[in-house]
Amino acid sequence: MARSGAFWQRLHRWASPPGFYRLSGRWVPWLAAASLALLALGLVWGLLYAPPDARQGNSYRIIYLHVPASFLALAGYYVMAVAGAIHLIWRVKLADMLMSAAAPLGAALTFLALFSGSLWGKPTWGTYWVWDARITSMLVLLFLYLGVMALRQAYASRETAGRACAVLALVGTVNIPIIYKSVDWWYSLHQPATIRLTAAPSMHPDMFKPLLVMIVAFYLFYAWVLILNTRAEILSRERRAAWVRELAEEDVT
């Protein structure tokens, strides 16, 4: 009982904006260093040393951006929705700040996945855009992100905006698997003569290893930027609080 009490106390301190701000301040340099190093490693490995593809030549190398970005675009939505749920149920302000930091980041990654994919489409399919199942569902995901961002921006009161966005994100969560499934189903139903996204057979290990590095690097990068965004959000919302003023004075002196 006493131990769990201590645990809750610690969690509470942690989930308070100043507590999180101090704690995360210690992680930021490590995360930055690790993600930048892995990004550099993966990019150099993937772009310079991995062998060219037998059919696609060098254009396939865009995969090193495209695939990690696609992974995180989806994972990012769940980060956002879980934060929203925590805010809605337990009224943890920090969760709301995390959520508002996660939305633009996820939207940017989704856009990167779409953009890199359509750049890739030109050499492989001969067109920037086809109505493929996965592409369509990615587009829908982008709209879900944009909806959350637009809703937050539309409310004058932060308090209200946060809870409204949480409701929307949660409804979206229920729907994402359904949307993905249905779009896949739609695709297999119509069976157009276009190329399948998963046409590439299992990859050569020399191509795959740098991809793995890039994926890990993107996860770390995501965590880093998310924390930076959240810290900025904390400062802007708590700018009137005493601890932020003290912090600013420390910085000045």
């Binding site: 809605l88 829908v140 709209f143 879900l144 944009l146 909806g147 637009a150 809703l151 539309a154 409310y155 004058a156 009161s157 209200t160 809870r163 409204a164 409701v167 929307l168 949660l170 409804v171 979206g172 229920v174 729907n175 359904i178 949307i179 499934k181 249905s182 779009v183 189903w185 739609w186 139903l189």
Partner: protein, 226 residues
């Protein structure tokens, strides 16, 4: 105190009465829906084979747009004239009252569109074998549209206009309904089996029925403050 059924019935009655008083405005989208469908052959050419292929998708898109744009007023008016405050402060469960609003909306927009659809589909040369799937699918699908639209309407109720924000929130949620709905008609029209798609559509509608009233009620409690 009146039972929960009383609140549901009272609100449903009220909304149908109001719709009846304003039947011109209610009929507006419906007449449109019919006129535009009649114009489609002008836009894409009169070949029956082409029209028949397009028919399921076109009718569904029209139904979607019709319900979507009408959903704007789902909670907005109640908000402006203060009636929404009564709904939120009623001892009745708010989700049930939301459901009454949604059912009224569906009866006024979705059901007429559904009933009208065989005529429109016939104009677009859809083979008769597709009609049952079209009607059944639209009946379920427009209910799902109204349910999901209510969540968007509740989230934007205090925001003024909301005309453009709300569709942005809601349209992504409409995707599965649209896919299964059109698939059912297309298959049935091609002489195939549509029961699977309709069953999935029914499952989605059932899920929306389970989730939306609660989500919309939560959104209303939040959104009432502006």
């Amino acid at each position: 105190m009146p039972g929960p059924g009383a609140g549901f019935a009272a609100l449903l009655r009220r909304d149908l009465l109001l719709a009846w008083r304003r039947r011109g405005e209610v009929a507006n989208p419906l007449i449109f829906f019919a006129m535009i469908t009649a114009l489609i052959p002008l836009a894409v050419g009169p070949e029956p084979s082409l029209l028949a292929r397009l028919a399921p998708g076109m009718v569904w898109i029209m139904a979607l747009l019709g319900t979507l744009l009408a959903a704007d007023t789902l909670f907005r008016e109640d908000f402006l004239d203060g009636a929404l405050e009564f709904l939120v402060l009623s001892p009745q469960p708010l989700w049930l009252l939301v459901l009454a609003r949604v059912v009224a909306h569906w009866l006024v927009t979705g059901v007429p569109i559904t009933l009208l659809s065989p005529l429109l589909a016939a104009l677009l040369a859809l083979p008769g074998s597709g009609l049952p799937a079209l009607v059944a699918g639209l009946g379920l699908g427009t209910l799902a549209f109204s349910l999901l639209g209510a969540v968007g309407g509740a989230l934007t109720v205090a925001l003024g206009g909301g005309n453009v924000l709300r569709p942005l929130l809601v349209l992504p949620l409409y995707v599965p309904v649209l896919i299964f709905g059109t698939a059912a008609v297309a298959r049935a029209a091609a002489g195939g089996e549509s029961a699977g798609a309709l069953a999935l559509l029914g499952a989605i509608t059932a899920l929306a029925l389970l989730v939306s009233p609660f989500a919309a009620a939560a959104a209303l409690r939040v959104g009432i403050d502006g």
